[in-house]
């Protein structure tokens, strides 16, 4: 695999925290090049000039970390284009300054809590992705209350759910209960119907946002989008 391919593969692991989707799949990576002496240059683009600067910062910083960690890359430069806070974000990440220092006087803390809040949402949405096919296949909602991860047929959605749980420190092994709240506590039978409604809403929100962002990216940069409409 060429150095450039490895850099691109590293970018695949970077997610838009809000959309829970790789920035490569979202077509936020405008270009990625690596020179012979290992200098990587990545251009990122977003759907609008006013996309939330905190999420933008996370994506630029995560891209920097991911590409810098590729063996053979000696230096990484990540350039967010066409955003109202481009200079602040690009310079802040390049200086490894952290969010508070980059946005001096405008932020009280780093972005770890924000990131966690959206991993929790992704984890809830993931429960809908896993549970809905089970219900469609004829399982009763009441059966789902006792179900363990190991009882669920293997799928990419299940793998993804396990990943998000692990990122939150919530048990993700076969014995772990499938339906849990955002702290990892099992959902009882009584709360189950409402829980299923809530996790669906969370999923609809994330997926509708992703679709909307891709629509705007397409109008802004003329790139096609592959997601469900």
């Amino acid at each position: 695999m060429s150095l450039q391919s490895r850099a691109l593969a590293a970018l695949e692991t970077v997610r838009d925290p809000e959309l829970d989707t790789s920035i490569v799949e979202l077509q936020f990576v405008a270009s990625c090049t690596v020179s012979a002496d290992g200098v990587a240059q990545v251009h990122l683009r977003l759907p609008t000039f006013f996309c939330a600067p905190n999420f933008a910062f996370l994506m630029v910083a995560d891209a920097y970390d991911a590409v810098s960690a590729v063996e053979g890359v000696s230096n990484a430069e990540i350039i967010l284009e066409d955003h109202f806070a481009s200079p602040t974000i690009n310079d802040g990440v390049a200086a490894r300054a952290g969010f508070v220092a980059a946005f001096e006087g405008e932020a009280q803390g780093e972005l770890d809590e924000l990131r966690l809040a959206f991993i929790r949402k992704a984890m809830l949405a993931g429960q809908d992705r896993v549970a809905r096919p089970l219900l469609a296949a004829g399982r009763e909602p009441s059966e789902l209350a006792d179900m363990r991860l190991g009882d669920v047929p293997p799928s990419a959605d299940l793998d993804r759910l396990r990943e998000r749980r692990a990122e939150l420190g919530i048990a993700a092994d076969d014995d772990a209960v499938l339906l849990v709240d955002d702290k990892g506590a099992a959902i009882g039978l009584d709360a189950l119907p409402l829980h299923l409604r809530r996790v669906r809403s969370t999923r609809v929100n994330i997926e509708a946002n992703a679709g909307h962002c891709l629509s705007l990216l397409a109008t802004r940069y003329g790139v096609g989008s592959a997601v469900e409409n």
Binding site: A107, V204, L216
Partner: protein, 354 residues
């Protein structure tokens, strides 16, 4: 009025503008923001059916004749409500201030309503201005933009003590409709700018005010729904939900509207075209033609009926704003009444179908 298949739909467009984003109006030194803002809207504009697209120059500023034709003549709108957006940091005379909008309202007093604004960061001077505006524009509503920049500040919350002073004054002045837009740059930047929990507290503390959350909390529709289901005085303003999704992402339009119908209910949803982002015509026609798909993926969402569409398109808003509705268009709605939305959740039957 829109008429189809023998049904008459009284249309109240609760969210529209008459903006001036012309280059002459850009504040020197802030041109990139002024241009960035309107370009962002122009991106949204292109999510509409292609035959409705305008060129960029036209988009910057339309004439009064264009407005009347697009909204009243072609757009079926009976009564429209201007949501004033100031943005005076970027636009010299404002993007569309109450004063700008009210020029048209004075010419068409039976067809247009001017909503004002306040910014709690303006303090006592802002309160005085609100009182003056209430008298001048006969305000029944305000549009609050919690992410608006103001002298280096990137935003505020409805629960700020200063904001409560303004809400209480609104109540005294008879301004009972509080439209709230959550934006992307609220301070501090490390928190989620779209978080709607402040609306929750403010709505509980001001039961006599109606809180219409514009764009139904996009991009946090889930958080909005869980909040709104608990608050009888919280409404889903459907502008942008319709304009951005109905044509460009029809499956998500069905899902998002399905979520709103389930959690918030058809008596608490209002139509807004968000003109001049989009024209009302295709949106009104689309809502009336809209059906929830029959396949299993949508089976647990409520089905929109003719009554649902009549309420969303006009009857709910007419009740909130005391707009007279012709007898042949009327239907009862719970809008404006102190009744819990989505009562199916209270008796816990809703999730059983999930």
């Amino acid at each position: 009025m829109y008429e189809k298949d023998g049904e008459k739909y009284f249309v109240v467009d609760t969210h529209l503008h008459f903006w001036d984003a012309s280059k002459e109006n850009w504040v020197p030194g802030a041109e990139n923001y002024a241009k960035g803002w309107i370009d962002c809207f122009y991106g949204y504009h292109q999510l509409a059916p292609p035959e409705t697209h305008w060129d960029w120059e036209h988009y910057l500023k339309v004439s009064e004749e264009d407005f009347v034709k697009d909204v009243f003549t072609d757009g079926y709108v009976d009564v429209a409500i201007f949501q004033s957006t100031y943005l005076t940091e970027w636009y010299k005379t404002g993007f569309n201030t109450a004063a700008q909008n009210d020029v048209l309202t004075k010419k068409y007093p039976d067809r247009l309503i001017t909503n004002g604004r306040f910014d709690p960061r303006d303090g006592d001077a802002g309160l005085k201005q609100l009182e003056a505006d209430a008298a001048e524009f006969n305000l029944k509503g305000v549009k609050l933009y919690t992410a608006e920049w103001n002298k280096g500040s990137r935003g505020w919350k409805l629960t700020d003590p200063e904001a409560y002073r303004f809400l209480e004054r609104c109540q005294e002045l008879g301004i009972k409709n509080i439209h709230v837009h959550k934006g992307p740059t609220i301070w501090p930047l490390d928190k989620d700018a779209f978080d709607a929990s402040d609306v929750d507290a403010a709505a509980t503390d001001h039961p006599d005010l109606n809180f219409i959350i514009e764009h139904a909390g996009i991009p946090r529709i889930d958080d909005f729904c869980y909040m709104a289901v608990q608050e009888p005085n919280v409404y889903a303003g459907c502008s942008v939900v319709i304009g951005a999704l109905m044509h460009a992402r029809p499956k998500f339009f069905n899902r998002v509207m399905g979520e709103l119908l389930f959690w918030v209910g058809e008596d608490r949803m209002t139509f807004g075209s968000d003109y001049n982002i989009w024209t009302p015509k295709w949106q009104v026609e689309g809502i009336v033609d809209w059906e929830m798909p029959d396949d299993d993926a949508f089976s647990d969402y409520p089905r929109p009926t003719v009554a649902t569409k009549k309420k969303i398109l006009g009857l709910n808003a007419a009740k909130l704003y005391d707009i007279p509705v012709p007898a042949e268009c009327q239907l009862p709605t719970d809008a404006g009444e102190d009744k819990q939305p989505a009562e199916q959740l209270v008796d816990d039957t809703a999730g059983a179908q999930a």
